[in-house]
Point group: C2
Chain length 388, copies 2
Amino acid sequence: MKFNPFHQKIGIIGGGQLGKMLIESGLPWNVAYNVLDPDAHAPARRYADTFIHGPLVSKEHILGLAEISDILTYEIEHIDVETLIELKALGKRIIPDPEVLRIIQNKKFQKEFYASNNLETTQFRIVQSMNDVASAIETLSGEKFVIKSAQGGYDGKGVWIVPKSEILNGKLDLPPMEYVVEEFVENATEIAVIVARSQDGEIEAYPCVEMEFDPKLNLVDHLFAPANISSALEDSLKDLATRAVQKLDGVGVFAVELFVDQSGAIFINEIAPRPHNSGHQTIEGNTTSQYEQLNRILLNLPLGKTDLLGPVVMMNLLGQEGVEGDYTLTGLEELFKTPKANLHWYNKTSTRPGRKMGHLTVRADSVEIALQHARKIRRALQMKPFTR
Amino acid sequence: MKFNPFHQKIGIIGGGQLGKMLIESGLPWNVAYNVLDPDAHAPARRYADTFIHGPLVSKEHILGLAEISDILTYEIEHIDVETLIELKALGKRIIPDPEVLRIIQNKKFQKEFYASNNLETTQFRIVQSMNDVASAIETLSGEKFVIKSAQGGYDGKGVWIVPKSEILNGKLDLPPMEYVVEEFVENATEIAVIVARSQDGEIEAYPCVEMEFDPKLNLVDHLFAPANISSALEDSLKDLATRAVQKLDGVGVFAVELFVDQSGAIFINEIAPRPHNSGHQTIEGNTTSQYEQLNRILLNLPLGKTDLLGPVVMMNLLGQEGVEGDYTLTGLEELFKTPKANLHWYNKTSTRPGRKMGHLTVRADSVEIALQHARKIRRALQMKPFTR
């Protein structure tokens, strides 16, 4: 076989579960992937054509990946963007564009981008140290605030929700760095919209999903689609998400997280320039998964349809309290007895509390029934400490 | 991670497209596969943990595969069954059982098995050479007969449909060996039923699919589900297929091919003890694919539901006339523009006319519409000779 669109090698910076599922989606077309990851046991390693073992912020390793790949993409934001910008200048195809990543990597840049492009977002102030937070909130409203480190936050880390009283009492104790201080949306409905935009500018938004967070871990506990919102609100949210990706001039798959407050006002929270936890359920729940969609975009093929096939729930399977390191997975029977239940297990060799170890999706005639099934399956699945 | 059901290594004898799709279906669970195949470019090779390059009838190579695998299965019948029987005696888990394979490998044994177990099949005679065919058909009826070599037939090879006149004229010229001579079912509707049976004896039949053959190649051109038959007939066919697998005491996935004649009488034609071309569309068209089902069976997990999600067409993509060896694949646009169309391309490095190079499935609101889409896509897809 000689050159055809599938014959291009894709280099993925990052070899976690997102990379793994991207590869899985490309196997029916025989697309080959190279993977860079610092973890020798990275989930995507087994099916990589070439695995490069090295840091995601290492110029040398990213250049090495670029050399053996026709197209570069990334499944994590915390990578060496300057090297990507240099590679782009040399003509390398990088999707999404590193200039988009540069904005998204920094939460200050992200917020300023929304504000300057009339993309509805919560009011915010930028502060250069914790000492400035008290004066910043004088011009904001509410009894709670969200404080985010401008750089380096990830997976619920680097984000704090703090009561006004605690700020005014001077009880806050965070390391010295730049922060975004935002108004907190009380009792928000949290929505995600996956937006796909092709190299030709074709754009498709997936149906809204509604997310329920684990309050302790600040991670998605589960999500469901269709979201429990009016179709007018669904349209507004998809429109806002679509406008954001268009303004970014982004090519790729983008996860747009949004808030709806009690009055129905909508706010863009964050964008991830990659497939996302909030789109896992598209594998079984939608005509085209977010992973296939990214493969189509990378290979410059037309976008697939994004419609929902029916009610679906996605539930994260996080490392349980009290189990660290080696583990064994038990209680699979319930999962395999449940119709239209699917497991994705990420092949991480060790567990720790709160670590994303896998997820499950359940389809049913209603979100409620799917959720009941998913809860029952998750209760049965146990990661047990492994003892010889 | 330590022992759990997914942690067993599966050894597959044969590394063609069936092995490839079996592996793809196990990746979300991180199942590891070893593959034995004589072709250094076997489709399943890329994602095999260990690839053993060797003949499928070589004792030494099958023992090598067994040594590094917890469970053995096969994706082709023409393998060394005696070695499997020895391995079974030593306690190796082999699914399906090699005694089942021994019956199926030989078309005489298969026919005699159906006849002796009251499984409706066409009338037949066994002959030891071509010279005996004329006398054999004296006791059969019809104007055409099917002649099959008892051993070694595969993928439409080793099967001839011959008019009575040609046999009586002595025009038939086939190599000296044992043959099955069967009555030919005129204007038959050809149906396949995939039957899955677990290690615990749990059994599930997939909905009937109706097959249209390419008359020249004697290969499936396309198939569709639901079949265009009454529900009473659907039930009878599923019942016959199920009884056949139960009588075989088979564990695994079995493709049962059946005929329906113009009067509505049904006949079992052949059984393949593995996932089959006639079950490819279960990947997109059914709750559980034939490949996931076999993985569940191999890992001793409960069977999944087999229900059809909606009308589906599967169309084979065969090597085109006039193109041999190196090729390039063009005309993908139509495929990617069509909603609910999926391509599986088998990663064969060279083509030849009639070779199974890939398949596509299309889902739509009706079989008719799906078939229109599939035809349009196939017309657009072209394998062109590759010239530098």
